[in-house]
Amino acid sequence: MTEVSASPVRPHRENPFIAIPSVSASEYAESIRTAMMRAGLTQEVRPGVAVSARSRSLEEQLFDSRAAAKLRVASVAMHLSTAWRERFFAQLDALLNAEDWDRLDEPISEKSFATLLRLLLLVPVKRRPGLGATSDGHVVAMWTVGKNRLTIECLPGDVVRWAIVQYVDRDRDTAVGETALPRLLDRLGPYNPQQWFADEGTEASG
């Protein structure tokens, strides 16, 4: 297989590569919180509070998980276009919907989501990923081009598990690994990650 190196648009720096401010530091985050309250979502959102406490209903836990994720996004709003954020929020709403959530699964943890956000800001991703989740509360980012698939499970603490299925002619290559986020592009390099990241997709502009 021909190896093609990744060509990151942004410089690859050792961590800390980006600082995500605390959610309360962002005016945008506050406006989101206010809007949610006005919309009748009267439950107060407390960033940093563990979302997996089983004393609350699944709906409450998913609400908290969703809200914490959106506040995290809001805290880095300056790096993301409005259209990108709106579509990403729609993905979060669909993913963390109680009607479609497996009742045995842990809601997505805030720490896992923080890793996802750092991934999206570190890696030169023009195309939003599809979003999924593991049974133990890790958010999953996925990109698919034809039969070639990239899946990244985001663990707390800027650690990711990645899996690739790629076809060269009719030969299937698979590769999996676990690495610290700053080294991810190096690990994916032999598999031409730009095939997944470079395309903005049909509706991702903005």
Partner: protein, 158 residues
């Protein structure tokens, strides 16, 4: 018969929640994630439903299997899906990676067509990706099966 190994020509159907469906950035469904076949920490086996337990042609069997899953305690969500795989192919791809799994009919109170996939490895992520990409990859969406539910009968069709 309880404990019966499924014939290699038969198929198994696994419920896949929305969160484990492979989707694009606009939530269009493209397939299933390898994670759809990952055992939970305390799970001793992977659960599925025996397609040929139900009578009729392929379409009738798929509908009956989905109805049986809907009637079980799983209560699949409206955006969920069902991955279908051939027993022989699943056994083969696992054996190629040195895993001697067993696919066994183990009826449960809420699903008489329940199948246990035993001895699935917990640490072979490559295998899960291969299953999702090729071997256990036929996907039926819950929304595409007509509304209704009906528990599986006590005896298989064959």
């Amino acid at each position: 018969m309880k404990g019966q190994r499924l014939p290699a020509k038969d198929h198994v159907v696994r419920y896949v929640p929305f969160s484990r469906l492979r989707r694009d950035e606009n939530d269009n469904v493209l397939g299933v994630l390898g994670l759809a076949f990952k055992l939970r920490d305390q799970e001793p086996y992977l659960s599925a439903t025996w397609l040929e337990y139900f009578p009729g042609g392929r379409a009738e069997q798929v509908k009956a299997a989905v109805w049986a899953i809907r009637a079980s305690e799983l209560r699949p969500g409206g955006k969920s899906g069902f991955a279908i795989g051939n027993v022989g192919a699943i056994l083969r791809v696992c054996a190629d990676r040195k895993h001697k799994i067993r696919i066994v009919h183990e009826p449960e109170d809420d699903n008489k067509a329940h199948v246990a996939v035993r001895r699935m490895p917990r640490d072979d992520a490559d295998l899960l990706e291969i299953l999702a990409a090729e071997t256990w990859a036929e996907l039926v969406l819950n929304r595409d099966i007509e509304p209704g539910q009906q528990a599986a009968t006590d005896k298989p069709a064959t």
